[in-house]
Amino acid sequence: MDIPNTNLQVVYQRPDVLTKVVSHYCPGCTHGIAHRLIAEVLNELNIVNNTIGVASVGCSIFSYNYIDIDFTEAPHGRAPAMATGVKRMLPDKIVFTYQGDGDLASIGMGEIIHAAGRGENITVFFINNANYGMTGGQMAPTSVPGQKTTSSPFGRDVKTAGYPIQVSELLSHLEGTSYIVRRSLHDSANIRKAKKAIRTAIEVQMRCLGFSMVELLSTCPTNWGVNPCEAQDWLVENLIPVYPIGDYKVIPEVAEIRVKG
């Protein structure tokens, strides 16, 4: 293999906003991708010093160890309420929550609906990996029918455990929401789109347009019981049909940003 001896230009590198710490995530877990995208967007928008993250309880609990900005950590499910408290005090700062599907869609359903209903001017990054990663892969409200998890060993039975909850669809029906989209982290094309959405969501907040959320379909190879590459396929086959990628709510003012952006 040749080592190029011409001058080389860096075209992609680990963003500064990420701390120099090895993450605790399992190999191939796409939480890390989401972190990186957020870090890049904060950098690009030049708001690293003016942003406050609200971490939640789930595998991403230590996201604050990796993204080098001011952070608080909320009780399980309560990040939208905590973020509301932060944002109301600091309306000029950017406030986001980073929540898993157990956190947001199960225990935290009340808080997310009401933050959205209030049109709280915050941004929510919602990492949907169809299970409770941190506690060992139990069923989440987002687990798909038939999905075997450590708390649905015979597969999710919709008759007793109910149907998957489509959070983006649900929240989009609330008048308070301005920008609700679903993206996926399973390949580079989708990751690029995810980043754009993350950027738009933050810009929505910067323009005080109200509640924005980016749902990110994410892999959990460990609890899905597959390797990281297989997990990408598993996501495409099992999650995207139930959670289609798309824009669920984009109010006209937001559409304008995106055209300009």
């Binding site: 950590e73 009780p75 408290g85």
Partner: protein, 383 residues
């Protein structure tokens, strides 16, 4: 500074506003709702933050978030709502951010009813949330005290970065009395002398980033946090006790009661004095830290303590721990929203003053249950 006729709930709310409350988050529940309603008007008038949360659970976490920014924050609730805040309070205590909680107690357990009680003493004093944490609890008994101890509550909360509770009951919340409110000041974070606390999460402009969390995966670090909290508490325990004494100089019987029970007892003590009974009143105001030393000092002179509460003897147990084995401790309580009348306490004082102190062997609680059941038979109508 004029004396005004003020309701307890409003006095506390307006005091908080005047000492610079930045934000109030709450949820309606009787007998606290007027406090929230007052905030909904006045905070908006003052261009501060008022938000009616979707629940007490959300309210405490909004408080948590706002407190993390270094702002002056308050919430208030009662019984069931306070129970819903327990997780959040434990988190806030672990994170060491200050806020003031107003608990206007009503009768429980369960939904109970909306009349005044003191049956959440244990929950507030001995930790309703999980984990080893401590909170300062101030129990005013008049409107003026409600004002003064609300002022103090913010100071202590911020000094020690600690949850501080103003504990009243439906009576103090709903009654009016003259009181002098503090001067009006701007919101704390808008005051010219205010600089953000060094731990506040407000964006890392100009300094290394701040992180406020309650998780420490390493047991050693978590133990360190626990010890730090404990050591701070040991200090507060000595420094921050408050109480009021009445007629204790020559008292042989000491009535102990806080809040409403304390003031009802005062009436009884006065009447008993007029009968020549050597009785006084010890009214703890800081229930945490409890004024143990002050109470212990009374042990030698005292033949019997009478603890009066609006519960089944929760503070009584703590008092017993402090003074027992040296002195007899008796109990009288009314429960479930029933407020004792002064004459009930008076007859307790008379009973005690005329009895030979070591005579009865029956547990004071069992004895009280018997007496109360007799009383209840006679008063079916009167209440």
């Amino acid at each position: 500074m004029t004396r005004e006729l003020l309701k307890g709930n409003l006095a506390i709310a307006e005091t908080a506003i005047r000492v610079g409350l930045d934000a109030y988050f709450g949820y309606p529940i009787t007998p606290q709702t007027e406090l929230l309603e007052w905030m909904s008007r006045r905070m908006v008038e003052e261009e501060r933050v008022f938000l009616q949360a979707e629940s007490e659970l959300a309210a405490i976490n909004m408080v948590y978030g706002a407190a993390c920014t270094g702002a002056r924050v308050m919430t208030s609730s009662s019984g069931p709502g306070i129970s819903l805040m327990m997780e959040g309070i434990s988190y806030i205590a672990a994170t060491e951010v200050p806020f003031v909680l107003v608990d206007v107690m009503r009768a429980g357990p369960g939904l109970g009813n909306i009349d005044a009680a003191q049956s959440d003493y244990n929950q507030i004093i001995h930790g309703g949330g999980h984990g080893d944490y401590h909170q300062i609890v101030l129990a005013p008994s008049t409107i003026q005290e409600s004002i003064d101890y609300t002022v103090l509550a913010f100071d202590l909360a911020e000094k020690y970065r600690m949850v501080t509770v103003v504990l009243i009951d439906g009576i103090i919340g709903q009654m009016m009395e003259p009181g002098i409110l503090p001067e009006m000041k701007p919101a704390r974070t808008k005051q010219p002398d205010w600089i953000p606390p060094k731990w506040a999460v407000r964006g890392k402009e100009g300094h290394d980033r701040h992180l406020l969390t309650s998780i420490h995966m390493s047991p050693t670090l978590e133990e360190g946090l626990n010890l730090r909290l404990l050591k701070q508490w040991r200090e507060i325990r000595l420094k921050e006790t408050r109480y009021k004494e009445y007629y204790l100089d020559d008292a042989e019987i000491v009535v102990v009661g806080f809040g409403t029970a304390g003031r009802v007892a005062l009436s009884a003590v006065r009447t008993a004095r007029s009968y020549g009974i050597k009785v006084g009143l010890f009214r703890p105001i800081s229930l945490r830290p409890f004024p143990e030393e002050a109470l212990e000092k009374l042990v030698d002179q005292t033949k019997a303590f009478l603890v009066v509460e609006m519960n089944t003897g929760q503070m009584y147990k703590d008092i017993k721990k402090i003074v027992s084995n040296q002195s007899r401790v008796e109990f009288y309580g009314r429960v479930g929203g029933v407020i004792p009348f002064p004459d009930e306490i008076l007859s307790e004082i008379r009973r005690i003053s005329s009895m030979s102190y070591q005579s009865e062997n029956i547990d004071p609680i069992d004895a009280w249950i018997q007496r109360l059941e007799d009383i209840r038979k006679t008063e079916a109508v009167g209440r």
